[in-house]
Symmetry: C2
Subunit: 343 residues, 2 copies
């Protein structure tokens, strides 16, 4: 490793109010530092852009500490080891971990902290490790199966259906024998999840009433709802749930940039009437079983019965605007920022 490597970084400049603005970010360059024993330097190739990032930018208690002002923005990503003082990793290895919005990550090469682990570019294209074979996939897989407990023949509804989590939720549910109805914004996304991913139906919330769509496409009601969006759509689904329904609270992307209080689900008393359950999921709780989810989905991928779609935008400098695509529903598939070419 030479000392000439420069690490361009995106740091949090201010806590955003509502949608993050470019002035909430600082672009900083600094030399890549020398390695201590046990450390590696990873060159960032792909970064995962996720709705949860908006939460990390806020102050206050959550399932993970907030990103500090002037800290490099947290992000999971895939990179290539370019320097190593660790016996576990060799230069040229591909790894996944919480490497941050920057060109190079340097730190201890263990599965604590940044959670660095090897990925195999021959088993699957690298971006898949940020999608179904990464955090969104694990969130979908364990959230659906462990919290949702779907049974064959039941009806599963998922919002954000064309997004990273939604794609996987729907396909896992199909593999488990459920009727699957997506909710997504726009005809293209709806066509995609039905025609490409095999969902039974998809409701376009931008072109009509979600309640009417649920009536039409869930004639036996809703047994499991995997909620990525919150807001009015959660309330609409609550009017259609069955007895003993399970609602998985994975996120509430419609509410993350609110400058007013979060809209609570006004129809939550449907839980009472239907003896139903609403339960939160955080993916880290299933870390010791990720390999099981990866194995099952990789098998389906090989069989050709499980597909994923990524929406890849190039350039670290485009990070601020690319992140906003999530909240404007502009990404089509798992949103990924390509920071460097693999060369």
């Amino acid at each position: 490793m030479t000392t000439t490597l420069t690490n361009r970084q995106v740091r949090l400049a201010a806590r955003p109010v509502g949608m993050p603005k470019r002035s909430d970010w600082n672009f900083v360059s600094e030399p890549v530092r020398a390695l201590a024993d046990g450390e590696i330097t990873v060159k960032t190739l792909y970064l995962s852009l996720d709705p949860a990032m908006r939460g990390w930018m806020n102050e206050g208690k959550s399932y993970i500490r907030p990103v500090a002002i002037d800290e490099v923005m947290r992000a999971g990503g895939i990179g290539k080891v370019v320097a190593s003082k660790s016996p576990k990793f060799a230069v040229g290895d591909y790894v996944s971990g919480v490497i941050g919005v920057q060109e190079y990550w340097t730190g201890p090469a263990d599965d604590k902290g940044a959670g660095i682990y090897k990925v195999d570019p021959k088993a699957a294209p690298l971006p898949k490790y940020l999608n179904a074979l990464g955090m969104p996939g694990m969130t979908a897989y364990f959230g659906l199966l462990e919290v949702g407990q779907p049974k064959a023949g039941e009806t599963v509804v998922v919002s954000g259906a064309a997004g990273a989590v939604g794609q996987t939720v729907g396909q896992v549910a199909k593999h488990k024998g459920c009727r699957v109805v997506g909710i997504a914004g726009g005809k293209d996304k709806c066509d995609f999840v039905v025609n490409e991913l095999g969902f039974d139906a998809c409701i376009d919330y931008k072109s009509g009433s979600v309640r009417e769509g649920l009536k039409q496409h869930c004639p036996k009601g809703v047994d499991v709802y995997f909620d990525n969006v919150g807001g009015d759509i959660l309330d609409d689904v609550l009017t259609r749930i069955n007895m003993k329904a399970r609602i998985i609270i994975c996120g509430a992307i419609s509410q993350y940039n609110n400058t007013t209080p979060v809209k609570g689900p006004a129809n939550y008393l449907s839980l009472l009437v239907n003896r139903a359950r609403m339960e939160g999921i955080v993916v880290f709780d299933y870390a010791d079983r990720y390999h099981l989810g990866v194995a099952e989905m990789a098998k389906w991928m090989k069989e050709g019965t499980f597909k994923t779609r990524e929406d890849i935008v190039e350039g670290l400098d485009n990070f601020p605007e690319t992140l906003l695509m999530l909240f404007e529903g502009k990404n089509f598939g798992k949103l990924i920022l390509q920071v460097a070419k693999d060369e």
Copy 2:
């Protein structure tokens, strides 16, 4: 039985908007009808007045069909058999069942429909069969134990703590080794649940901040919350729940007379952060196990380690105003309307 018995009834005249008014009720008298084979006539002694009654007055799908316009208002109660063409019941027997807001109930003497069953006035005073040994008690017992799954050492919080359900929730939780914190309106009610019922603490929502009270009295956070009230108090508790907390949705008395939409819990994303659960309970689901709950609580009553308090108002004519006491927080203990003396 003579034909001279007159049955004074309270019928639903109109679906109330907001708080029920006297004009939403019709007082009607009609002769008690002759018995068919298998039927009995019950003279009403005590009627249970419950928050759920407000929901029964609304149109629309719920866990039970609405009371129809011009139908006798639904109510559970305790009465005495005054005429019988059923081999199961003799004149003079005391029974519990859904006998309605009227002086006499006549119908089939089975455990379907009105769910008529015998109660023993020697085992416990009759009003107790509308409190801990009746529906509120069963709701509390099975809601807490089956949905809440409290473990010894955990902190259980219950709102409406001095009410029929709240009293029992807190005492059952104490018997199971939990720390119990009530939420109630006014010093008298708080003193009662702490000094008489043995709760560890009680927060007076009328005299201070519920959030501050929770901070002070639940230093280890909240593991189980039994919610009878909804609204702001539910939101306050959501800010203090522990990982894997269980919230039992039993009711939302703060919202039943709204003329605006129900206030959904704005802090529901705390379920996500804490991998917590919110689940509804309807007591009828546990009907085949009521006897187990009755047996355990009756044992505690005999030991003197379980108390209940009733707030008994006299006179069928006072039904409309007495029902409102529930929504104004004016009852102190299980609210019961005494329709006739046992003579």
